[in-house]
């Protein structure tokens, strides 16, 4: 009876520990996806404020980034808010604009990066010729058409951003579906500017 009781106690303890760790892991795993979705809702609100003329609207009070563009892919029903800075901490909430590639309002080629399993999962489905729309903070829409898709090795690849035409380059991890993150390959989508449209 005593042995039985001890056994039960150990099992209960072990079970509880497993439940707690399991919950923690499931929670934080799920949280990544929930956060990605939830942040976009808050970001859409901040974007509205940005378009209304406010400067660097923070989507939530403790945010250290702000929306700088709206990314729309009509064929895939994608509507995302792009954040300034392509760092791990911003990518959790939305696609990030690599600051080193120059301001979005200019004529520079720009690079956006996003997580392959949240915001930029759609890159997998993006076909050549499809339209990508980018709305800058000024409200002006830029229409890009997908020209090329490439899988590159991030350790050696250099993206040339000095072209005659303005390009939009979307970058995410590759392959899209492995369970374990990390790995040197990147999936890149090259889109070329088609036209600059007036505010809608």
């Amino acid at each position: 009876m005593t042995v039985q009781r001890i056994k039960t106690k150990v099992l209960t303890g072990l079970g509880l520990a497993l439940v707690l760790i399991g919950l923690w892991q499931t929670g934080s795993g799920a949280w990544i996806y929930i956060k990605a979705q939830l942040a976009q809702v808050l970001l859409q609100r901040a974007w509205a404020g940005t378009l209304a003329g406010q400067q660097d609207v923070k989507p939530w009070p403790w945010a250290d980034t702000w929306p700088i563009a709206r990314l729309v892919v009509p064929s895939l029903g994608i509507d995302q808010i792009v954040l300034e800075g392509a760092y791990g901490r911003t990518l959790a909430f939305g696609p990030g604009h690599a600051e080193s590639t120059g301001p979005l309002e200019g004529s520079y080629t720009i690079i956006l990066t996003g997580h392959r399993d949240t915001h930029f999962r759609f890159l997998e489905k993006l076909q050549a010729g499809e339209t990508i729309l980018i709305q800058a903070r000024t409200g002006v829409w830029h229409r890009f058409a997908v020209r090329d898709r490439q899988i590159v090795d991030s350790r050696t690849a250099i993206i040339s951003t000095q072209e005659d035409k303005r390009h939009l380059i979307l970058v995410t991890c590759y392959p899209f579906h492995p369970i374990v993150p990390g790995g040197p390959l990147r999936y890149t989508v090259f889109a070329e500017i088609v036209e600059r449209m007036a505010e809608d």
Binding site: A92, I111, H115, I159
Partner: protein
């Protein structure tokens, strides 16, 4: 029973998940702590703005717009071998990527000054134990090779000729903590002036004034990485303004220098103007020269002078080189060191054009004023004179040259004394005004330009001179520690005059007295090389300038066969003059073909200002540059390593930050972008696995009860 258990487990699990999510949601910092590994680590190296960049150094671009980090330049070693009038130098530069952070692969840009007549023909890179040789390629092709190698993660180095006296080296893919040594070899012509041969190694680049208003073309990035924006009149300004070193500012760029001198004639004395040197004579008449201090900061030009023994007649020296069945000859006509003062003087019109821009402020303007006052006192009553000053505007003493009278002279001296330096430099209108004076073949019409030459619109100046010079002669005087010697030399060349460099305040009076004296008497005029005995002779300059006291004439010739004796002809005053030069027992030297090729390229380039279309010029220059392994406007020197420089098999997740500015960048390394996969899936899977195990345990426990 079992089913009920399982159901209650699932219900509990779901409740717990929801609770956890809720807890995380109301706890804001959890959001930021979610992925601490990926967050940005900011560097500790202070950055500098493009306007703070004042030293000729290797710059690394940072992620902040317009901010750069200077790379520590470990040192620069210079070795120079002088044979006759040709100097061959090997410059070895050593620099490092100071970052210890893994994945900090950087692209550097180094701007370095070279002597104005320098022609870079060889490049070597030392990376570890390997040595990579450079090749001359057409510029666009070299750029392509460079970009391709960079994309493949290989070390490359590209030396480009921005202006004849400024070279830039791009060095891509410098690994963290890595040391790269770039070694270039160049050849230049030794200056001979005032009875002295003079070799100058520029160790500091002056800041140039770029006329016009800055042009910011919205569609383009600035083309270069210089410190100034392109302007409407100097479209490549952003490429030609290098960072300049501030005196005493750290880090310095220590330079060690040694020189081996074989002049080819007996030398009176060897002197270094700014640096203490050690001179060791060789038994064969040469000298070994080194700096007394092992390494000196790059803040003053190294200047070495040596002078030949005295003579009363013009003398000629010739060197030859055989190369691919052709003979290259360099003929040097040296004026007598002692001038015959009894020769009658021709009346002269002297126009002094003086630079009063801000860059002349301080000792430079004082030197210029002293030299002007000295020049005025040498005028005689048969002469006429005028003084024109320019900064951003042009003002002149008289509207045209006036006869020398007591009143005019008093006015002139008062005008010179009142000169102050302020504002920008715009030489063109001043020169235009000077060239307006009426032409008169009975008078020597001399325009004397005194400036520090920090001006960029060279093409316009040369074009003006080509069209408006007439019988006039333009003489340039470079003042200060870093005049733009290329501009000054070319201006004098187009103006059929001479260029004089004054680097030291104590030299002004001596140098200019000699210059003004020589301007009173040309030694020889209408000089020509007799073509008899030469086959397929091609010489540069094709139109030989007048010979003045203190200034030799150097002629580079190429021929398939040469005579035993070359004949130089001309006029000494009104008398015909000729001088035979023996070609039989000449000393054979290396580098003469390179010298000739350089002269030919220079002559071809000048044709652009005289109306030849650029494509023709480009083809001509390409032929010569490729055959003689020379860097030119259309050719680049490029070296590409064959071994990939980047490590394989490791992911560089710690580099989450771009290392380039948008302003001058042309590419972004992928490794600079963050990793874009999350732990979401694996965490979910792991968590569910644990929960499932817990559920099994729960059942096991119930069963054991």
């Amino acid at each position: 029973m079992l089913y009920a258990h399982a159901r209650s487990s699932i219900v509990r699990l779901c409740l717990c998940v929801l609770l956890t999510v809720f807890l995380l949601l109301i706890h804001p910092s959890a959001m930021l702590r979610a992925q601490p590994v990926e967050s940005l680590s900011t560097g500790v190296i202070p950055t500098m703005g493009i306007n703070d960049v004042t030293e000729g150094t290797l710059l690394f671009k940072t992620n902040q717009l317009g901010r750069y980090t200077p790379a520590p330049i470990l040192k620069t070693d210079v070795q120079i071998a002088v044979t006759g009038i040709i100097a061959r130098a090997t410059v070895r530069q050593e620099f490092t990527n100071p970052s210890e952070k893994k994945g900090d692969w950087l692209e550097g840009l180094y701007v370095f000054p070279l002597p104005e007549t320098a022609a870079v023909d060889h490049l070597r890179m030392h990376v570890g134990d390997r040595i990579i040789e450079g090749h001359i390629k057409e510029r666009a092709e070299a750029k392509k090779v460079y970009e391709k190698a960079k994309q493949e993660g290989k070390r490359t180095s590209l030396v480009e000729q921005e202006r004849p006296n400024i070279f830039t080296t791009s060095v891509a893919n410098i690994g963290p903590g890595e040391r790269i040594i770039v070694e270039i070899e160049y050849q230049e012509t030794i200056r001979y002036d005032q009875g002295k041969f003079q070799h100058r190694f520029p160790m500091v680049v002056g800041q140039r004034y770029i006329p016009g208003t800055p042009v910011i073309v919205e569609e383009h990035d600035p083309k270069g990485s210089g410190t100034m924006l392109d302007t409407d009149r100097v479209p490549d300004a952003s490429r030609i303004t290098p960072p300049v070193q501030k005196p005493g500012q750290w880090p310095i760029n220590p330079v060690s220098l040694s020189l081996s001198l074989t002049p080819g004639f007996p030398v009176a004395k060897v002197e270094s103007v700014f640096h203490p040197i050690i001179v060791i004579p060789d038994p064969d008449g040469g000298y070994q020269i080194s700096l007394k201090k092992d390494a000196v900061p790059a803040d003053r030009d190294f200047q070495l002078t040596w002078s030949p023994a005295a003579s009363k007649e013009p003398t000629a020296t010739v060197f030859t080189e055989q190369r691919n069945g052709e003979t290259f000859a360099v003929l040097m006509l040296v004026p007598p060191t002692q001038q015959n003062d009894a020769a009658p003087r021709m009346p002269r019109d002297l126009t002094f054009v003086i630079d009063t821009s801000g860059s002349m402020a301080g000792p430079s303007i004082e030197q210029a004023k002293a030299s002007l006052a000295a020049a005025l006192t040498r005028l005689t009553t048969q002469d006429r004179f005028n003084v024109i000053q320019f900064n951003n505007t042009v003002r002149s003493l008289f509207s045209s040259p006036q006869p020398v009278t007591t009143a005019a002279m008093r006015k002139g001296i008062r005008y010179v004394e009142g000169l102050t330096a302020d504002g920008g430099t715009d030489m063109l209108p001043a020169l235009r005004q000077a060239l307006k004076s009426s032409q008169d073949i009975t008078r020597l019409q001399q325009i004397i330009l005194i400036t520090d030459g920090q001006v960029g619109n060279e093409d316009e100046l040369f074009e003006l001179l080509h069209h408006r010079l007439g019988a006039r002669r333009v003489f340039t005087i470079g003042i200060g520690s870093t005049p733009n010697s290329h501009l000054m030399r070319k201006t004098a060349e187009f103006g059929r005059g001479t260029f004089t460099y004054v680097g030291n305040v104590s030299e002004v009076k001596e140098t200019l007295d000699a210059l003004f004296k020589k301007l009173e008497h040309p030694v020889l005029s209408d000089i020509q090389l007799d073509r008899a005995g030469w086959t397929a002779l091609e010489h540069y300059p094709s139109r030989i300038a007048d010979l003045y006291e203190g200034e030799p004439i150097v002629l580079a010739a190429k021929a398939t066969s040469i005579p035993e004796q070359a004949l130089l002809q001309g006029h000494m005053g009104a008398q015909p003059w000729s001088l035979p030069v023996s070609m039989k027992h000449t000393t054979t030297r290396d580098g003469l073909s390179v010298y000739w090729a350089r002269q030919k390229i220079s002559a071809l380039m000048d044709e652009i200002f005289t109306g030849t279309d650029e494509e023709t010029v480009r083809k001509g220059v390409l032929d010569v540059a490729l055959a003689h392994h020379l860097v030119s406007k259309y050719t680049s020197l490029i070296a590409v390593d064959v071994t990939p420089a980047r490590p394989t098999g490791k992911l560089e997740t710690d580099q989450t930050q771009g290392t380039r500015s948008a302003e001058a960048q042309d590419s972004t390394a992928m490794a600079e972008l963050p990793k874009t996969g999350t732990n979401g899936a694996i965490q979910l899977l792991f968590g569910l696995l644990l929960l499932a195990t817990a559920a099994i345990l729960w059942r096991v426990r119930r069963v054991t009860e």
